[in-house]
């Protein structure tokens, strides 16, 4: 299925949180971000790379990384699949028997220096920075060592010094940021004998890549890897074979990393402000219901008491009236006296009953 892996943060924006205020609203506000103007990049042309490992050697030298076990002139290491590690910022892998290719193909792996770096977006101490020259750099002095950047990076570039107990660092290609500041080329670019790495402003590199593809339609695929992947990267790749044949993922989508988490982040203030309101409301309702229940109970009790009293009174009056009538009707005094006593006794009885009703409240 040819769908992009773009994700829709539907439920988040549905909660009304997607359209927060501010100058950075993406689609809704019609604003979008294109990265630093004139930032630099490198174009890797996979049809030119000869797999000499000079770039690895130069990288090791200019970054003062520890010497490898086997010398860089040993091309036998290309037999296996390698990746960047804590002692290597860049590696070249060889791909044999790629359909449609005349001989072996090579691909250089290093940090792609995303326009919107996932590592920087993921870092909770801002240890990563996207510099105006395009380099994504890392500040060891604040890093906690949580390795969330390694989870976040779609290219699996950041590595970690697992060997160190106290001062482990994240290790990754720096685009030779210090050298760039001094006006020098990145080590790997400088040494590449075949200009498989072309250095320049990213927008110019895109022009060069497009021109090469147009002039040699049979040699290149019509795609510049990194132009849109994960929102675009400073390092670009062109190739004559599908990028997956060179171990590059073609399913990364074009959504920049911050866009992936933007929706979830925008929910935070909404929950923080609306939850107390809602919960207090629920609390008030439950309190109110309890109160009503209490009042209703009290009212019911009062009503029962009043009713009992009224009943007793009515009975009493009735009894009195009856007694009066009897008194008048009766001739025999003894009979009359006896009735009087009986009436009294009844009144007492009902009073006791009423009192008994009242008590349990």
């Amino acid at each position: 299925m040819s769908i992009s892996r773009r994700r829709f943060l539907g439920w988040l924006s549905a909660a009304g949180a997607g359209t927060t205020l501010g100058r950075s609203a993406h689609a809704a506000g019609g604003t979008h971000f294109t990265g630093y103007p004139d930032s630099l990049g490198v174009l890797f042309d996979a049809t030119r790379c000869i797999g000499c490992r000079k770039c690895e050697e130069a990288c090791n030298k200019v970054n003062e990384l520890p010497a490898p076990q086997k010398p860089f002139s040993d091309l036998a290491v290309l037999e296996g699949r390698r990746r960047t590690d804590a002692k290597t910022y860049t590696v070249v892998n060889r791909y044999e028997n790629v359909p449609g290719a005349k001989g072996p193909l090579y691909r250089k792996i290093q940090c792609n220096h995303c326009l919107e770096p996932a590592c920087a977006s993921a870092c909770f101490v801002r240890a990563f920075a996207k510099n105006s020259n395009g380099a994504v750099t890392y500040d060891e002095s604040v890093c906690v060592g949580c390795r969330y950047c390694m989870i976040a990076c779609p290219f699996e570039i950041p590595t970690y010094e697992y060997d160190k107990a106290f001062t482990p660092r994240i290790m990754k290609c720096t685009f030779c940021h210090p050298r760039l500041l001094k006006g020098q080329l990145p080590g790997c670019v400088e040494i590449c004998p075949a200009e498989a790495l072309t250095f320049g402003k990213r927008r110019n590199l895109l022009k060069i890549a497009r021109e090469r593809i147009e002039l040699f339609p049979g040699r290149y695929l019509d795609h510049i890897y990194g132009e849109t992947e994960m929102g675009g990267t400073a390092w670009l790749t062109i190739s004559g074979v599908p990028f997956r044949e060179l171990g590059m993922r073609e399913d990364l989508g074009t959504t920049p990393a911050p866009e992936l988490t933007k929706g979830a982040l925008s929910v935070v203030p909404v929950v923080a402000s609306m939850w107390p309101v809602l919960l207090t409301g629920v609390y008030a309702i439950s309190q109110r219901r309890e109160k009503i229940a209490r009042e209703e109970q009290a009212a019911a009790v009062a009503e029962a008491v009043a009713k009992a009293q009224a009943e007793a009174k009515a009975k009493h009056t009735e009894a009195m009236a009856k007694a009066e009538k009897d008194k008048k009707a009766a001739i025999d005094r003894e009979v009359k006296k006896a009735l009087d006593e009986a009436a009294k006794a009844k009144a007492q009885e009902s009073a006791a009953a009423a009192a008994a009703d009242k008590k349990p409240s």
């Binding site: 988040l12 870092c123 390795r147 482990p168 929950v271 919960l279």
Partner: protein, 389 residues
């Protein structure tokens, strides 16, 4: 009500104590290795697999299973379900211990643990969901600590302080729910940034919602589960109210858990529909996903319902244990099993025994702390000198 002053003298070398002692000893040895030789010596973590069970289990599972605190206190204090009152303190205690242990475990995992406060005091990476998790966990741990203090203050006999804290109950509860909502969901949202690494059946724009809803399920189930364990082992510590309400708590929570599980199942299915990931169901991962969905969501949903209908506590308790296991399965899937699904099997992660050792060590410390607190503080009974707040 049992007289808490009677201390029953037990032999020191019970099987429990022996096993716990060994675990603690081994844990301490591994701790030394970890902090002298680094993660390479103690873990199977690699550049492809930066997070192992110290995150997948200790953080993701730990936080989810500690959700009982906010769920129970919200039910009792906010929704006004007073008959669950006796369940609040044990739930808060386990919540507090859970979070404390999560933070403890994090010290093992991160490279420079003394820098854990850096996100707050040095540089704030506010675009990171991990920042939100860290902030909320830190705050919520504080909230839980304050919520828990009445028990400690009662034990210590500090009446004034206790009454001040008691007045804060509602505010603290609301705080707790807000913070829990945020970080429970953010733990899921941590993985939103890696759509290319998490298997499409588990990756969803709803990840945050899934984690939040399943934390409610985890909280409810843990309260039932712990209740049943406490009943078994600390029956003598419980007062009449606790014993009288315990069955009602289990029944009510079972019904709620069943209902939430039903909703959770629906949103999981809708998540598949939204990302159109149906075709993955036929693969091996699809089978495993179905095991999770049918075996650990639909099945407990049904058995909770049966248990609540038939008022059968045995079923409810077993289902609670099963559901807790289901939460573990889910967090493992998102954090480790379905994560990095694209890598060849040679690059996949399986924990080192020392990693497992530390996780078991941390859980053991939790159990020991729980045991100590339950035997010494008024958790499973109300203190005779104080009114219920």
């Amino acid at each position: 009500m049992p007289d808490r002053k009677i201390v029953i003298q037990k032999p020191a070398l019970t099987p429990f104590n022996v096993v716990a002692g060994i675990i603690v000893a081994v844990g301490l040895i591994i701790t030394v290795i970890r902090f002298t030789q680094g993660l390479r010596a103690t873990t199977n973590l690699s550049d492809y697999n930066p997070w192992g069970i110290w995150i997948g289990f200790d953080l993701l599972v730990g936080v989810a299973l500690a959700a009982g605190g906010y769920v129970t206190s919200a039910a009792c204090y906010i929704f006004g379900l007073k008959r669950f009152h006796s369940a609040v303190r044990p739930a808060i205690l386990t919540g507090f211990l859970g979070y404390a242990l999560v933070v403890l475990a994090l010290h093992y995992d991160v490279g420079r643990p003394w820098r854990l406060p850096y996100p707050f005091i040095v540089q704030q990476g506010t675009t990171s969901l991990l920042f939100e998790v860290a902030a909320c966990v830190a705050l919520y741990l504080t909230v839980l600590f304050i919520e828990f203090t009445p028990a400690a203050l009662e034990w210590l006999g500090l009446k004034r302080a206790r009454s001040i804290v008691a007045k804060l109950t509602l505010v603290l509860t609301i705080f707790g729910v807000v913070l829990s909502t945020l970080h429970q969901s953010s733990l899921g949202a941590l993985f939103l940034i890696a759509p290319s690494k998490l298997h499409p059946l588990w990756y969803s724009p709803y990840l945050a919602l899934y984690f939040f809803v399943s934390s409610i399920i985890a909280g409810l189930s843990m309260v039932i589960f712990e209740g049943s364990l406490a009943h078994k082992h600390f029956h003598d510590k419980m007062d009449a109210e606790h014993l009288r309400e315990a069955d009602g708590v289990a029944l009510g929570f079972a019904k709620a858990a069943s209902w939430v599980l039903a909703g959770y199942f629906i949103i999981k299915v809708i998540g598949i529909a939204q990302t159109n990931a149906w075709n993955y169901l036929g693969s091996g991962y699809g089978l495993w996903f179905l095991v999770e969905m049918l075996g650990f969501v639909l099945l407990p949903c049904y058995f909770y319902a049966i248990g609540a209908r038939e008022k059968n506590l045995k079923i409810i308790r077993r289902t609670a244990a099963w559901t807790v296991l289901g939460i573990v399965v889910n967090r493992f899937n998102v954090g480790m099993i379905a994560f990095n699904y694209h890598l060849p099997s040679s690059e996949r992660y399986f924990p080192h025994w020392m990693e497992i050792g530390i996780s078991v060590f941390v859980v053991t410390i939790g159990i020991l702390a729980y045991k100590f607190i339950v035997t010494h503080m008024p958790i499973l009974y109300a203190h005779p000198d104080y009114d219920a707040h």
